[in-house]
Symmetry: D3
Subunit: 248 residues, 6 copies
């Protein structure tokens, strides 16, 4: 049993509140335990210069933490005047993950701007951001379809992410900050609704791991991601049916 009473293979409670922000085309507040990330998807009716005339769309993601999302206040990157390496790594990961299930051709010459802002952090903010951003994207493209700009949802499959790790020799699903900070191996996994991998990032923190351990961690991640996709499906209701109509 873990510090918060969970089993090793158990997710924290997950809630997703759709349309949290009135201005955004799509938005979702995702809460995974005490981790809270506000995800918005904004539609811009043009693409970056290097894609003009290419006949397909673009998606780009930004990630940030409020200064007091963390136990100790962290300095704003705007105040420091530049983005840190961790932030850049995470926003690249979010963008890449969403590109795997979004049909940019069907999107047309548009850009989706994804913003993931961590309101409160307790481990797993990047994976919560991906899971929540998926919902915001679905709502943003649904709005486009509703007003006739798209024929069908350009979403090939569900997409969610979670973290797994090895803490004191034990394999754990969905690490809280306390667990994450002492994990010897830490892995972020992004998967689709059909169980395909989009991204695997496994890291030994001054430690190493075997192929067997890798596989065991992936089993655990897959279990958790299926649970997250169940929540997504319930959250989206009728909209869920429009996802993945076009096979991957």
């Amino acid at each position: 049993m873990r510090g918060d009473g969970r089993l090793a293979n158990q997710l924290r409670p997950v809630t997703i509140t759709r349309n949290y922000i009135k201005h955004a085309e799509g938005s979702a507040l995702i809460e995974v335990g005490d981790t809270r990330v506000l995800c918005t998807a904004s539609v811009e009716e043009k693409v970056p210069p290097f894609l003009r005339g290419a006949g397909h769309g673009w998606i780009t993601a930004e990630y940030s933490m409020l200064p007091r999302a963390t136990e100790q206040r962290t300095q704003r990157e705007a105040t420091r005047g530049k983005l840190g390496g961790r932030t850049m790594e995470i926003q690249r990961l979010i963008g890449r993950s969403l590109r795997a299930i979004l049909d940019l051709k069907d999107l047309g010459e548009r850009t989706l701007w994804i913003d993931c802002d961590v309101i409160q952090a307790d481990g797993g903010t990047r994976t919560a951001a991906i899971t929540g951003a998926f919902i915001a994207v679905v709502d943003a493209v649904s709005a486009l379809r509703r007003r006739g700009a798209l024929q069908k949802l350009p979403i090939r499959d569900f997409l969610a992410a979670t973290s797994v790790g090895i803490v004191e020799e034990q394999m754990l699903l969905d690490l809280r900050y306390k667990e994450d900070s002492v994990a010897s191996v830490d892995m972020n996994v992004v998967m689709t609704g059909s169980g395909k991998l989009v991204e695997v990032q496994g890291t030994g923190e001054s430690a190493v791991f075997s192929r067997d351990q890798l596989n065991e961690l992936l089993d655990l991640a897959q279990l958790g991601i299926q649970g997250l996709i169940d929540v997504q499906r319930a959250t989206l209701g009728d909209l869920a049916a429009g996802i993945g109509q076009k096979p991957l």
Copy 2:
């Protein structure tokens, strides 16, 4: 009657949720109509180098908007690599206003970091930030008192702020974005519970105004601020009694 059914001298509905963030010593989510600002107060047990040994504390404020707080997505200042003029002006205003009612000597050699993050913007974000930050500060210093670090609350008086303006010749209280963007005169007023002024910033937007109009706007602001302080008082409950025990 205004677009949202309010009278000229009526505030929008105001709610303040205390302790919104578990990590922060004090935090409040303030909602003024559709404007939502998350305010946190963080205690650091030291002062900036230029104040070391001076025997009193310091307070500093930062302000930011999430990119999709606004109708059109705005670029992150962290991405642009620098703070804009508007942001700097606002964070200086917030810090200065709080310094007027905070007894820095009683605070001791500590820094209060105030973070005001606009989650959703619909006019009046800077004044909502001041009104909400006041609550976060009270909670942060109360926590210090509870753990014996302070003898009494170093808060001299209540503090709240609102905007007033002239729109199509009419004097209005608590402008929404739609009103603010067409106002010919725009004024932010910060006041204490005893009706003293802390800050008056009146601006003709390509327009000018008379001394009489200034006075009428100030009357309106005073009315609104009294309403806001009533909300603060109700929100704080028992804590309210500890404010202003030391005369200003």
Copy 3:
């Protein structure tokens, strides 16, 4: 009597030297006591991208202090790589103030760049900058009219600014640095020739002030600004007649 022998309601000696810089379309060196600010107005025959085709002009202001304008040398913002909050606040104030009396429609699709560089600082640099920039603007637009680019001066009224404050319970006009640094209330006022307010910025420095005090300070400011406008009128000579032909 004040440190420099002035009465509470007396301005420092003011001189304005027109055409101080040979390259600029308009320029003025304004001296208010020991405060010296060099103001230039540069005409650019285009507007920023967001105004193209809008049929009217633009005005933008920049403000800076030479490193040794101050008692202690201050680091250059160019060396630090970014503008400070105080600088941004001041340049926004200067631009906004001038926009109130400049008819941007009559200016045509042109930009006026205002540069205010403090050569020597002894309090009141921002208000001196506004008062001097007004002269530079008049000269720049007069040059446009002389070469037939404008039919009449697009200047609706005179414009000047001063600071007032409360020092040791006394209301003072036109604060020197020594007075300003100990003032409990500090107010910058921008007014037109016809006595209309353009900007009022009153600030309690860790202090508060009453409505009555605000009014008394405004009376004092109005007196001072009338004196400054007298100097402007004398400086401009014949040109003064062309100002405000079009009612505000």
Copy 4:
């Protein structure tokens, strides 16, 4: 057969030139096909402030490409004034990978600065950087041991890295740029001499992959990394014996 005549599971020719730079404590020029990376390890006899007195050392890595390492000239990050996300991601990866096999306690209160500069790029620059940096680190710590500053090499195991990917349904080892740019799945793998994983980063490029494909790619990577470690072992000669004397 691949464009350059290799089999799917074949590495490009690899050469490592030790002591390429006379000033550095350790340095290696690694060439993997046409990819050439200059790796240096610099010893600094202190640790960053946050580690002072902690009794162990630190290692930090920087990565850069010369502007004309690439087919099209790329702008210098020094000229743009900031590091890109890709660069930050890579330098974090290199540092993390080396930390997994370096015994920071045995290193003592010292910092190893790793610099990996890509002289010519043809795919796999980050994995070549890790493989080459390992040699530079061994030489730098050997120099410390030779002058008596260390008792034994604080290196727990060999370390090398390669990339694998899926190109037109085929699994390939050690991708050239031409292959990498069209791969649907791209994976970087960092492994130790004893076959343990240090880092696995698998990414679907607008594509997804199955658990079976992941495993097949890992088999291929393991094969390649063994080949690279054979080259490292031959390059180091006698020094190789001192590695991993302390079990991981």
Copy 5:
């Protein structure tokens, strides 16, 4: 005869106004024709960290142009957020030149900050800056001597600078902007009162020059610099006697 009526070997009119700025320890406004540079020397009673305890002083120079010093307004470097190459080159030149005649040992553990701000530019701003900064330095160290902090002036010799160039095959002294901008060869020369060279920077602008031409230009520069030093000597009056008491 040149455009402004001068002979080829004639300087423009030169005036130097000492103590132009009341706050600075030394200051001079130098006017060379229409070029006007404000030079200040500020004394700081400490040296940069890398010189602490070395028993001698330091001198460092900064150079800047006001935006409207030039015919076309130039953007502020503070606004662009970084110093340009030309600025850096010039401030390094000014600092280096002054170090050649300043006895840093005699100065003691102090820093002299030199600020050269171009108020109006018409060619030769960097050489005017050196010539004027020399006066500001003499005044700053004289102030130190007067208050007993120094025994004698730590100035080994006079120092002045001018530009020479080849315009349409003709050798010219002290180029105005109009001449400088069409010169095929452009040379800045810094010399001491005893005729020794401190710096020679000769540049062919898309052109080349012979050894003979170099020598002829140096003759011309020497003539001009002697004239400038005569002006310096007259400006300094009695102080001139204290310079170079210690042989170079």
Copy 6:
């Protein structure tokens, strides 16, 4: 005799390796003693905006040092976020020097990007950069001529550079770092094959020098540059004949 056994007027051994980088249109690794600089010339088929339609080309140079090119590791400018003054000065010098012998009209509307990256530094990196960049430029424009884009080589003359200086009263050619760091006078000279000067930068390092010493140093530099041009000529082989066909 000098530390490395050279006579005062002797160059260090010089080798130039052409086509060191496969991607670049022209590239050369130049080694002058232990100084190694990698120079590339990249052709871009357009000119900067300010030259569009002007009917001639442009050349621009960048210079950088790898962090461990130096005895002590130097921080990357990309990490610091800005170019230092020394770097800017050097890249301006390289660009200007090459412009003197390149016929920009004959080049057509193209830009040559010159990159000089110091792999290992032991004095004279800027002059080695110029000497090596010349070869890279010749190769780049030769490639343009071979594919018919140019009729003849737009190179008016050979170009090389060296440093000379006064060390302990002795005039030395081609200073190593050890010599350079103790030189009282330091001069960089850029010359053409026909013995014309392109750039002379002589600097007293807290010292001064006479006209006679200047001339002696120039004699020494001329001798060295002739030696360097002999190496260039030998390196270029047949291509050498195409240089300077058009008289300067």
